[in-house]
């Protein structure tokens, strides 16, 4: 049960990553690789602040802000200096590696015993269960720590998801979606497309860094390597989410990205338990995204061929 609740919690945390990737890849059609660096940036920023005694919620918010800056930087490199979007992301991601090391002062920063959001969830759990560490639900033993970590994460993600949904329906957010959909049109309606991309990438990387901040608190450390392959992970979640909800309606798409992230994490947890070598995980994730990108077109071609042959 601990494994299941843990997978859910991590899935929910990473759904913020999925929402960030949704903004860059789906709203703007912008292949933003900054994410690999900004998720670590969020983790590093929050971890250092928490280790220094800053309240964990504030530290998480600081992680969000740090991601905001990183994303805006990629946007500026792309729109103001005319650097190819993919390269702009790579530049910032590469630079962030050093920045993250500078922030942490070393490559791994443990948070054992520190006052993290998850430690607070644990306290809450202990209080709610009247001091007991666990309780039984049927034949399952459920630890208060796991349950409350999950509830707290769910609450946070729900608030952020609802906030994003609301934002994308404001005048500004609607213009942002239109920028990704048809930039010629939105320019003709008086919107500065470059500024819109900068703002969008800032929000995207802010969310991703927030996922990093929460992840560091959940797993109890920040590591300079933790961002590797995270873009692909987020993209896989978004693709699964789209398949789950099968709709382009904004609210459903956002909920779908979160659900996709949780489902993907659960699948991975099951596969690992079944004996999958953790070292192969990135390869499998990449192959999965490849298949998800290629299969729809391939299936369409096959069905067309069938129609022709019939």
């Amino acid at each position: 049960m601990t494994l299941l609740l843990g997978a859910w919690t991590i899935g929910l945390i990473l759904s913020l990553l999925a929402l960030g990737v949704f903004i860059s890849f789906r709203v703007f059609h912008f292949p933003d690789i900054t994410a690999d660096g900004s998720i670590t940036l969020g983790a590093a920023t929050a971890a250092v602040l928490i280790a220094g005694g800053v309240p964990p919620l504030l530290a998480t918010l600081a992680g969000f802000l740090a991601g905001l800056v990183a994303g805006a930087l990629t946007g500026v490199l792309h729109t103001k200096f005319g650097i190819n979007g993919l390269l702009a992301g790579i530049l910032v991601m590469t630079a962030l590696y050093s920045v993250n090391l500078r922030i942490m002062g070393r490559s791994n920063l443990p948070l054992v015993g520190a006052d993290t959001l998850m430690a607070e969830a644990e306290n809450l759990g202990a209080r709610a269960l009247g001091g007991a560490a666990s309780f039984h639900l049927g034949s399952w033993e459920i630890y208060g720590r796991d349950l409350f970590a999950l509830l707290l994460t769910f609450l946070l993600v729900a608030v952020v998801g609802a906030g994003l949904y609301a934002f994308l329906r404001t005048n500004l957010g609607t213009a942002m979606r239109a920028t990704g959909d048809n930039d010629q049109m939105i320019r003709a309606l008086g919107v500065n497309v470059g500024n819109m991309i900068i703002l969008g990438l800032a929000i995207s990387n802010g969310l991703i860094a927030m996922a990093g901040a929460l992840l560091a608190q959940y797993q109890g450390f920040a590591d300079v390597q933790m961002g590797i392959g995270m873009v692909v992970w987020g993209l896989a979640s978004v693709i699964i989410g789209e398949a789950l909800v099968g709709s382009t309606q904004l609210g459903l798409v956002i909920a779908g990205a979160a659900m996709g992230s949780v489902l993907f994490r659960l699948l991975v947890a099951i596969a690992l338990r079944a004996g999958l070598n953790p070292n192969d995980l990135k390869l499998i994730t990449a192959v999965f995204v490849f298949a998800a990108l290629v299969l729809p077109a391939l299936l369409a071609r096959l069905s067309r061929a069938e129609v022709r042959d019939a």
């Binding site: 239109a178 320019r187 309606l189 497309v193």
Partner: protein, 270 residues
């Protein structure tokens, strides 16, 4: 209203592909005037429209709209003064967004976009009313995505969006060229209605001789980046497609003469 003062634009300067798209164009358009621009392929008529819209900056000359010098204004800033309908029906609307969302975007053309709701409930009534006037039954489909509509429907909506807030200047860039005849006729009628209702200053580029003679109160014929003819008033009203064809024929002959002269010179001297 609109003043082009010695405007020139050369694409790919000093290369083999150099194109002098606009050469010292002077054009003044009065408030409320409806000007039709016609010309052969490559005559610079679409370039003229894009120069006004700010798709690129001109090399020389000045552009003024409603008394403001917009020569160095970027496209999105000029959009506060200009409503635009493109040739491609896909260009003027956001296909993955709903009709209502597209219209909501148009209501804030040139205004700051903040954190107010894009689709306020009170706004729906007005939206419904104005979409109904298009006579396409789209008022019942406000929450459908634009991508599900036909080219004619999209173009009618783009026109509505371009004129939702009264623009100082309306630019129509061969906006019916990609439509089937029936839709084209419908969009032309809607354009005329909008222009007459709000007394819009309009610059319309067209390929159609019929539209060029039937619409507008002034006709500008362009050739090789210059204004060749500029017909006003009674002269414009009397103009028939046949007269226009004759003028094109004249251009063609002159061109041929030029070419044969060039060929002769080449034989003699090269």
């Amino acid at each position: 209203m609109l003043d082009l003062d010695g405007v020139s634009k050369t694409f790919n300067p000093q290369t083999a592909n150099e194109v002098r798209a606009l050469q010292n164009v002077h054009l003044g358009i009065d408030d409320g005037s409806f000007v039709v621009v016609i010309g052969t392929n490559g005559s610079g008529k679409s370039t003229l429209l894009n120069a006004v819209a700010g798709t690129f900056f001109v090399d020389r000359g000045a552009i003024r709209i409603a008394g403001r010098d917009v020569t160095r204004w970027p496209e999105h800033r000029r959009a506060a003064l200009i409503g635009r309908v493109f040739q491609n029906p896909f260009s003027g609307t956001a296909p993955q967004m709903t009709i209502a969302e597209n219209l909501a975007l148009a209501t804030r053309r040139g205004l700051a976009r903040g954190l107010g709701w894009a689709l306020a409930p009170s706004f729906r009534t007005e939206m419904r009313e104005r979409v109904r006037r298009l006579g396409m039954g789209l008022e019942e489909r406000l929450d459908n995505v634009i991508g599900s509509l036909s080219g004619g429907q999209r173009q009618a909506l783009t026109l509505l969006m371009a004129t939702w807030r009264r623009p100082e200047l309306l630019l129509l860039d061969e906006h019916t060229a990609a439509l089937d005849p029936k839709s084209a006729e419908q969009v032309v009628r809607l354009s005329e209605e909008a222009i007459a209702r709000d007394r819009l200053t309009t610059l319309m580029v067209t390929h159609s001789m019929h539209q060029a003679t039937a619409l507008g109160d002034r006709l500008v014929m362009m050739h090789r980046g210059r204004v060749l003819h500029d017909l006003h008033g009674a002269e414009k009203q009397r103009l028939r497609p046949a007269d226009l064809l004759a003028r094109f024929e004249e251009v063609r002959r002159a061109e041929q003469l030029d070419e044969s002269a060039a060929a002769m010179l080449e034989r003699q001297y090269v």
